[in-house]
Amino acid sequence: MIVERAFAWVDERVGSSRFLRSAIRKAFPDHWSFMLGEVSLYSFLILIATGTFLGLVFSPSGDMVQYHGSYAPLAGALMTGAYASALNISFDLPVGLLVRQTHHWAALIFLAAIVLHAARIFFTGAFRRPRELNYLIGISLFGMALLMGFSGYSLPDDDLSGTGLRIAQAVALSIPLVGTWLTTVLLGGDFPNAGLISRLFFIHVFLLPGIMIAALGAHLALLWRQKHTQFPGPSRTEGNVIGSPLWPQYALKSLALGAFLTALCVGLGAFAQINPIWQYGPYDPAFVAAPSQPDWFLSWLDGALRLAPGIAIGIGAHHDITSVFVPGVLLPAFIFAVLYGWPFIEARVTGDRRPHHLLDRPRTMPVRSAIGVTGVAFMVMLTIAASFDVQATILHVQLERLRVFYQVAVLVVPLVAGALTWIVCRELNAANAEAEPMSRRVEYERTQLGGFEERLVPPARVE
C-alpha cells in the first residue's frame, strides 16, 4: 500500500504517526457558530494566496511616471508608479483584476468573519478561564487585521487611499506630547512623501502578515491544546468534548466550507466591482472626490470623527487637544482596552474564576449580553453615521440636522438596545425555567400492554 509506505517513511524520520493516529479522532463540536472562526481562517488563506500574486506584480513606487496603459481616460496623466502599477494590474495583466477584486472581497469578508467570531466568543463566554490568553491573541489578530485593511487600502495610491492616509496623519498629529514626532517617524517625513508607499508595502506584505501568521499559529495551537468549548447538552460535561471526528467527517465539511468561500470571493471578484481605483484618479492632495468613505470596517472611526463637536482645547500657547483626538485616538484606545480587559473585568465583577468549558447561552447572562449589545449598537450607529452626507442628499434633509440626529442617536440607541436586551434575556430565562422541564424532558415509553407511559427525565447537565 502506497499510503502505508508513505506514512511509514515519514514516521521513521519525524515520529509523527502516534500523534496523528489520535489527532484524526479529535472531536470538533458541530454547532454552526463554530464555523465563524474557520471562515476567518479560510479568508486569510485566500488573502495570502491572492496577496502573494499581487505582491509579486505590484510596484510600490512613489516616483512620478506618465501613464501609458490601456485605460484611455488617464492616458498621459502623471501619477505615482504605484498607481500606474495598480492600473496595469487592473487592465493589462491577465487575471490581474480578478485577483485584485478577489483580494479586496476576501479582506472585507475576513474582517466581517473576525467580528462575528469575536461576538460569538463574547456572548457565549468562551473567553473565560482557561482561554483568556487565546482571547488576547484573538483581539490582537483583530487589531492587526484592521491595520492590514487600512494599509492595503492605502497602497494603490488612488485619490481615496491618499485621503485616508491624510486623515490618519491628522489623527496621529493630535496625540499629546509625541504626536508630531510619532507622525513624522511613522510616515518617514511629512505627508505625502515619495517613500511612504514602499514603507506601507513592507508593512502590509511582510511585517503585519509575519506577525499575524505567528499569532494565528499560536491561536490554533492553543485551541488544539485546550480543546474546543461546547454548548451544554445530553452527556456533554465540563470534562469532555463531543463532536465529529477530525477525519473524515469534520475535514470534509471544512474542505467544503473553504472551497465555498473561495468560490464566493472569486465570484464576487468577477461579478461585483469593488474599489474601482481608476474612477478615483491618482492621489492629488488638493482635490478629493465626494463622497469619500473608507471600507466598512473602518467606517465607525470615520463616523466618530464626523460626529465629534468642533472644539479644540488650548493647552498653553502652543498646544491643542484637537477635536480629532477624542474620536480618533481615545475612542479606539478605550474600545481595545475594554476588549483586552473584558475577561479580567468580568472575573473580578462576578467573582467567578473557575475554569469553564461549557458555553453560556447569551440569555443566561443578561448583564454581559446587554453590555455586548450596547457596544455593538454603538459601533453600528457610528458606522451608519459615516455616510450621513450621502443620506442627507438622498433624503433631502439638511446636513446639520442629520448630524445632530446622529449625535443623539449614537448615544441613545445603544443604551435602549442594551436595556431591551437585558429585559428580553430575563423574560426568556423566566419562560425557559417554566417551560423546559415540561417540553424537553419528557419521554414516552410503550408498555407491554400497548399503552404509553409518560416519564420525566432529569436534565442531564453535569458540572
Binding site: 452527556s235 471526528p245 461579478f271 480629532v324
Partner: protein, 272 residues
C-alpha cells in the same frame, strides 16, 4: 430497505465522480481561458464552478458515504503543579540567595532593549520634524492648477476656484480656495478672498462650496466654514478657521501680499 440504501450510496458515488470530472474539466478550461485572454466573467465563472464542485463533492461524501459518527474526547487538566514547583526552583538556581542579581539582570537587559529603540528616529529624515510651510511670499502670483494667471474677471460673484502659487501647482500645502464675494460697496480686491484649502480638522481638501450659505464644505467630515466671516467653522468637527491668504491685484493679476498668518494644515497637539 437494504436496496434503497445501496441505491442511495451508488447515487452519491455518481455525484462525487461527476464533481471530480467537473473539477478536472474546469481546471483545463481555466488554463485555456487564460491563454485566450478571456474576460473577468469567464475566468471567474470557471473558477467558481470548480470550487463549487469541491463543495458539492465533499458534502456528498460527508452526507452519504461516511457514517455520521460522534466521538467523545475526555478533557484532562493541562497543568502539573509538581512540575511548576520544580521548574520555579530550577530557573532560580544560582540566583536563589541573590535575588538582587536576578533583578539587576532584568533591568540591564530592559535598558538595553529600550536603547535599541532609539534608532527608530532614523525612520524619518533628521530635519523633518517641523511642519510644511506654504510657498507664498509678498509678490508671488496666484495661478490656476494649469498655471494660468488669475484676472479680475476670473470668477463670477459667489463662485470659487482652486489657486496655487506660481511654480508650485503641485504643492498641496499651498492650495487655496479663491472666492468672489458680492461687492457690498466696501469690498477690497473686487470681493476676492483666499483661504487655505487644507481643512483644519483632518487635512482633507475643503473642495465643496455651498453658494446659498457662503460656506466652504469639507467632503470628508462635513465641516463648514463661513467665508464672509474669516472662514470660521460654523458647523461640523473643525474647531479652527481656515487660514486666510492676504491677496491683491497688481497689473490686473492676482498675487499674494504675504504668507498665511497661521500655520496651514490639520490642527494637532503642536499648533505649528
Amino acid at each position: 430497505v437494504g436496496n434503497d440504501f445501496s441505491r442511495s450510496v451508488s447515487r452519491a458515488h455518481n455525484v462525487v465522480i461527476a464533481m471530480m470530472a467537473t473539477i478536472v474539466c474546469a481546471a483545463f478550461a481555466f488554463a485555456i481561458a487564460f491563454a485566450l485572454h478571456a474576460g473577468l466573467a469567464v475566468q471567474g465563472t470557471i473558477l467558481v464552478v470548480a470550487f463549487l464542485g469541491v463543495v458539492i463533492g465533499a458534502l456528498t461524501i460527508s452526507a452519504s458515504l461516511v457514517s455520521p459518527e460522534q466521538v467523545t474526547d475526555e478533557r484532562h487538566a493541562l497543568d502539573d503543579p509538581t512540575a511548576d514547583a520544580e521548574l520555579a526552583r530550577a530557573t532560580q538556581a544560582g540566583f536563589g540567595r541573590r535575588p538582587f542579581l536576578f533583578r539587576f539582570g532584568a533591568l540591564a537587559l530592559g535598558t538595553l532593549g529600550v536603547a535599541l529603540l532609539v534608532p527608530l528616529r532614523s525612520l524619518a529624515p533628521m530635519n523633518a520634524i517641523r511642519r510644511q510651510r506654504s510657498r507664498y511670499r509678498f509678490g508671488v502670483p496666484l495661478v490656476r492648477a494649469d498655471g494660468s494667471p488669475i484676472r479680475l474677471d476670473a470668477l463670477d460673484i459667489n463662485s470659487v476656484l482652486t489657486a496655487f502659487p506660481q511654480g508650485a501647482t503641485d504643492d498641496s500645502a499651498s492650495a487655496v480656495m479663491l472666492i468672489r464675494l458680492p461687492d457690498d460697496g466696501n469690498a477690497q480686491n473686487g470681493g476676492y478672498v483666499a483661504y487655505s484649502k487644507v481643512c483644519t480638522h483632518a487635512g482633507c481638501p475643503v473642495a465643496l462650496y455651498k453658494a446659498s450659505e457662503f460656506a466652504l464644505l469639507c467632503p470628508c467630515h462635513q465641516s463648514e466654514f463661513d467665508v464672509r466671516a474669516n472662514a470660521k467653522p460654523v458647523s461640523g468637527p473643525a474647531a479652527k478657521a481656515l487660514p486666510q491668504l492676504p491677496i491683491a491685484f497688481a497689473n490686473g493679476e492676482l498675487m499674494a501680499t504675504g504668507d498665511f498668518a497661521e500655520p496651514v494644515g490639520p490642527d494637532g497637539w503642536d499648533r505649528a
